[in-house]
């Protein structure tokens, strides 16, 4: 799964890669990002009663107290500071920042310089919290296997408004069958943190990651074949990996939400950072797209 970048732990290498990705993202922000190789309309609406649904209906889904953190934050920086997204906010923060009002009219879209009438924006405008939650729910269902998603998912999703609207997040987490699943999303990125019922250890983080990919992710079977580069300065308590598009087998992998950035594990949990790319998207969100 992974290939060592360097025998010596090199924070610089990682930062260079991170910087390169930042550069890409800046370019994408300016020029509109990338998209589909296969552009069929995404469909993740539940099918007729499936085995997964049957399992799902048997499972209990429980909430967690807000003061529980599933995995420590990486000490090294990831592009756009998305390492912060593993942190579940405090009850006070959630209460203060819970978005109820629609301020999308204060987050206008940005149009091209030579825009024709009715042009599409380069940067889309903000949306209502309801629309953000609707989209966040869609991504939940796109990424995670059906049996790990509660029927009342939408009610469990919390729109948290940040001062900078590109950092507004929809967060949600729950526990089921001894597994804890936490998903935090901005308009551009997703961080999934999973603490499974089974335990691993940091020295076997690769195998541990594979088991989690396979068990929880809709594209887990393909994910376990990807060749991440080990980040050697992630710290003793972590194993961290990075993947860039030159290591992917083709545009299909890039365009189906695992044109991701990084993942890391402490042997008990795993955090996976991805961007919201999906085949058939006309505009791929950028880190600077405001949300709500």
């Amino acid at each position: 799964m992974n290939a060592e970048i360097s025998k010596n732990p090199s924070r610089k290498v990682f930062l260079v890669l991170g910087f390169a990705l930042s550069g890409v993202c800046t370019v994408l922000m300016l020029s509109g990002c990338r998209s589909a190789e296969s552009v069929s309309a995404p469909e993740n609406t539940p099918n007729a009663v499936s085995e997964a649904e049957s399992l799902q209906s048997q499972y209990e889904f429980e909430s967690l107290p807000d003061d529980v953190q599933l995995i420590p934050r990486l000490e090294i920086e990831l592009p756009y500071g998305i390492e912060e997204m593993v942190v579940w906010p405090s009850s006070e923060y959630i209460d203060e920042h819970y978005a109820t009002d629609d301020i999308s009219d204060q987050l206008p879209p940005v149009y091209p310089e030579r825009a024709m009438e009715d042009a599409k924006p380069i940067v889309p405008g903000g949306v209502s919290p309801e629309a953000a939650v609707e989209e966040a729910e869609w991504w939940f269902r796109e990424i995670l296997k059906e049996e790990w998603i509660p029927h009342d998912l939408r009610e469990r999703l919390i729109p948290i408004r940040a001062e900078a609207a590109q950092w507004s997040m929809v967060i949600g987490r729950y526990q089921t069958q001894g597994h804890t699943i936490q998903v935090s999303q901005t308009r551009w990125g997703i961080v999934v943190v999973i603490s499974p019922a089974f335990e691993g250890n940091v020295d076997e983080a690769e195998e541990f990651s594979r088991m989690i990919f396979d068990q929880f992710f809709t594209r887990g079977e393909e994910m376990i074949t990807l060749d991440g580069q080990s980040i050697s300065d992630a710290g003793e308590q972590f194993q961290a990996y990075l993947l860039d598009e030159t290591r992917l087998p083709g545009p299909d992998a890039i365009e189906n939400w695992w044109g991701w950035i990084a993942w890391y594990s402490d042997g008990r949990s795993i955090a996976i950072f991805m961007n919201k790319r999906i085949a058939g998207q006309q505009h791929t969100p950028t880190p600077d797209d405001p949300w709500f």
């Binding site: 370019v27 509109g32 998209s35 552009v39 024709m116 599409k120 309801e130 869609w138 006309q282």
Partner: protein, 407 residues
Amino acid sequence: MVSNRKLFKIMILILAITMLTGCAPGRKLVQISFVDAGQGNGGDNEHPIFQNSVNNSGWGDGAAIVDPVWIADGADNDTDPDKNEPVVYVRSKPGTPSKLRVDVVVEINPAGAQFSLVGMDGTTEYFRKDNIKATGANQKVSMVGSANLPTSVSILTKTFTWKVILTGGQAGGTYTLDTSTHKIYVIYDTPITANVEGQTNKLTPKRLDFAVGAAAGKSNLVDAANEIAKKVRQETGSSYGFMFENPRWLFYARTNDNVDCHHRAALAASAFGIVGIKGHVHLVYPTVHPVPSAPSGWSPNSTVNDYVSTYTDSRKKYRFSSGCIQDEIFQGNNFEGNIRVEDGSTDDGNAWWTIWPLKQHNNAKELLQWYASSHVQFWTGTCGTSGTVPVPAGNLANKPKIIGGPN
């Protein structure tokens, strides 16, 4: 033996009962079905229609509406018909008139009497059938309308006054049976209901109001499609979004009206289909000449400059440059979604629309050049972004190469 006096008393009694119960002596309109008018009158010109769904603000698929679509008021407390559903007919075309045909069920007494059945549209005799022999029970009378349906897409409301003319005997005369009012959707052509960009596209009153309402008054293919394209644009927002609904019509039930431009084109295809216009959704990708080779092992489609793709096929171009993978995009967008209708025009045989931005185009080449004039083309990737890549107009075919298209 019954005496004449007793017989007279019995007859008086029967007459009194009849008067007290308020019933005419067995003459009534029972039900009406609208059916294909048949050869010379439009052929298979009447089309199935489904109820609006109970949920999703009515935009989903309901149960099939079956004949009879109109049933006279029965034993309930109101005086409305017990059933009254709309119908769909294809319009008249030059040289091919299209007419209504109804199967009217009436009960006419006395059995054996000769009668004519007439459906009046105001003062005009719209339906008429003569020399019918009454059975004294429910009997079907099939009649073709006297007038041609309009040549333009229309929503008609027609009220018919149904009369029976009894000939001969003591009951001879003209009697009004009832009136019936019908909503009739007149569409451009046979509706496109199967595989409209991958979906079944049933006709429902809600969808008919949307599409037929938009194109009402138009008898020209491009004009009708243009009005529907405008309507789809009006009913969609100003930002990007997913389309995960099936049928796509459910989009109109949601609160968020933002959706990507190619999905708007697919919505237009669904609406075109309702009125019987075949629309094809395409994606126009950035172009370049010559097209560089794709990175090793990557999709060969990305090296082909057939710049008009289908709704589901990508023709995005990738290249490997200075150790990085780059893809070609429009500023802010990966492609431009649009819809094509074959109109037989001399340039490329099609009319084209972008729904967002809303604009009609004569051909795909014009569409691409127009779009790229605002949303300019770039190569972009980890190594940075190229300057503007001009549309290689001189290297594009006059007739665009369309995947799955006519050329």
